[in-house]
């Protein structure tokens, strides 16, 4: 297992399957359909958790929890059920619970009894690289934004969700998505401007 390196690579999700395809598969074999859900969304859910928690191990854990919950969600393959928005919503809520909890605990109990050693080292290496990435440029500027602004920018630009998908994920109206995203970008420009002028 080599050292992980973060770099900007194009979206590699194979994932040409639509939710309708997955739901059609679920009519014959629910387990196979769930496997398709995992393959389609696994990367994005993990990365989403990683961008919010900035902790690979926590992100790994949150992503796993999200899919375990999805497995037991009886409506998952129902007509009209938005799988992607549901997964992102569950993941986002869980992440922010962890982030708030971490602030309360001060990070003391974070590492007790989780995962195996090899995986833990892997996570630590990812965290180190991520920390370096986050310390400069756009990621550093985004880190200065409020939770709401950062979250909506991540959903829009990191995860490439549409406005409607963001509204479904956050449980807000479309107009709220538009205004919050606009103000987040104005704020981001305000944070970056002194750096650019310096």
């Amino acid at each position: 297992m080599g050292h992980p390196t973060l770099k900007l690579v194009p979206e590699t999700s194979p994932k040409n399957l639509t939710e309708a395809d997955i739901k059609a598969a679920a009519r014959n074999d629910r387990d196979r359909a769930f496997d398709l859900v995992v393959r389609k969304f696994r990367d994005r859910i993990y990365y989403h958790a990683l961008y919010i928690t900035k902790d690979s191990e926590e992100a790994f854990d949150v992503a796993q929890d999200t899919f375990v919950r999805a497995y037991h969600e009886s409506r998952l393959f129902d007509e009209g059920f938005r799988i992607k928005a549901w997964l992102f919503r569950v993941c986002t809520n869980r992440c922010y619970n962890i982030v708030r909890d971490k602030h309360r605990r001060g990070g003391i109990l974070d590492r007790l009894g989780k995962g195996n050693d090899a995986l833990r080292q892997h996570h630590k290496a990812i965290d180190d690289v991520l920390a370096r990435e986050q310390s400069e440029g756009m990621a550093a500027a985004m880190a200065q934004l409020s939770e709401d602004h950062r979250s909506i920018l991540i959903l829009r630009y990191y995860q490439d969700l549409s406005y409607q998908e963001i509204a479904d994920t956050l449980g807000v109206k479309l107009g709220t998505v538009m205004s919050r995203l606009s103000r987040a970008k104005v704020r981001l420009a305000g944070v970056l401007e002194p750096e650019q002028n310096a």
Partner: protein
């Protein structure tokens, strides 16, 4: 369209997500408002916001581990959700141990006719007791009601007699005939009061009720 509104739709305006009419209104506002124009230009000049990603080999390794862990966790969650007791299984006897084991009845649950009869007997006795108690209570209530009505009748009788005596109080003297117009020497007119004749059977000072004012 005002500046506040432009600030709130700036992102969808740049992403071409606004309806045509609103987009035209924003463009029109920007032509006349340098402050908003400057704000839109600053946002439009932001560098692309791209997500940091792991290298492909790292991703592959990490997500391989992810799949294995997920399979285990789902299996564990399913086993947690399965009932610990098979409710459809036949009952099994519990072995008793210790010195009194031979004396104790078997713990296997069976519906024995003698237990059913005993149970029904106890239930019938309890029901009979409740019914008997209810009848006694009713009888007692009737007795109390009869006593109350008797007391009411007696009180009414006493009040009637008292009112009659007060009405005569101002015109009669004890021991005088009731009708003064009667001929001298004639027997006094009789007034039937409780089977007695003529003279009021009450002493004046015995009445303590309010005086009647005419």
């Amino acid at each position: 369209m005002n500046c506040w509104r432009v600030t709130n739709v700036l992102a969808p305006f740049l992403d071409d997500e606004l309806p045509d009419a609103e987009s035209s209104a924003v463009a029109s506002h920007l032509e006349d408002c340098p402050a908003c124009r400057q704000q839109v230009e600053a946002v439009a000049a932001l560098p692309p916001i791209e997500a940091p990603r792991l290298a492909a080999d790292v991703e592959q390794s990490l997500f391989g581990e992810f799949d294995r862990c997920l399979k285990d966790r789902i299996a564990a969650s399913i086993s947690l959700m399965e009932p610990a007791i098979d409710v459809d299984a036949p009952p099994t006897a519990v072995r008793r141990s210790g010195p009194l084991a031979a004396l104790l009845p078997s713990s296997e649950v069976r519906l024995r006719p003698s237990w059913v009869v005993a149970y029904l007997g106890v239930v019938l006795m309890l029901a009979a007791g409740v019914a008997l108690n209810h009848a006694q209570v009713q009888e007692l209530e009737q007795s109390v009601a009869r006593r109350d009505s008797l007391i009411d009748a007696l009180q009414h009788q006493v009040q009637t007699q008292r009112g009659f005596a007060v009405g005569l109080d101002s015109s009669l003297t004890l021991g005088q005939p009731l009708l003064s117009s009667a001929a001298p020497g004639a027997a006094p007119a009789s007034l039937q009061l409780g089977g007695t004749t003529g003279v009021l059977p009450f002493r004046r000072g015995a009445f303590e009720g309010p005086r009647v004012v005419h």
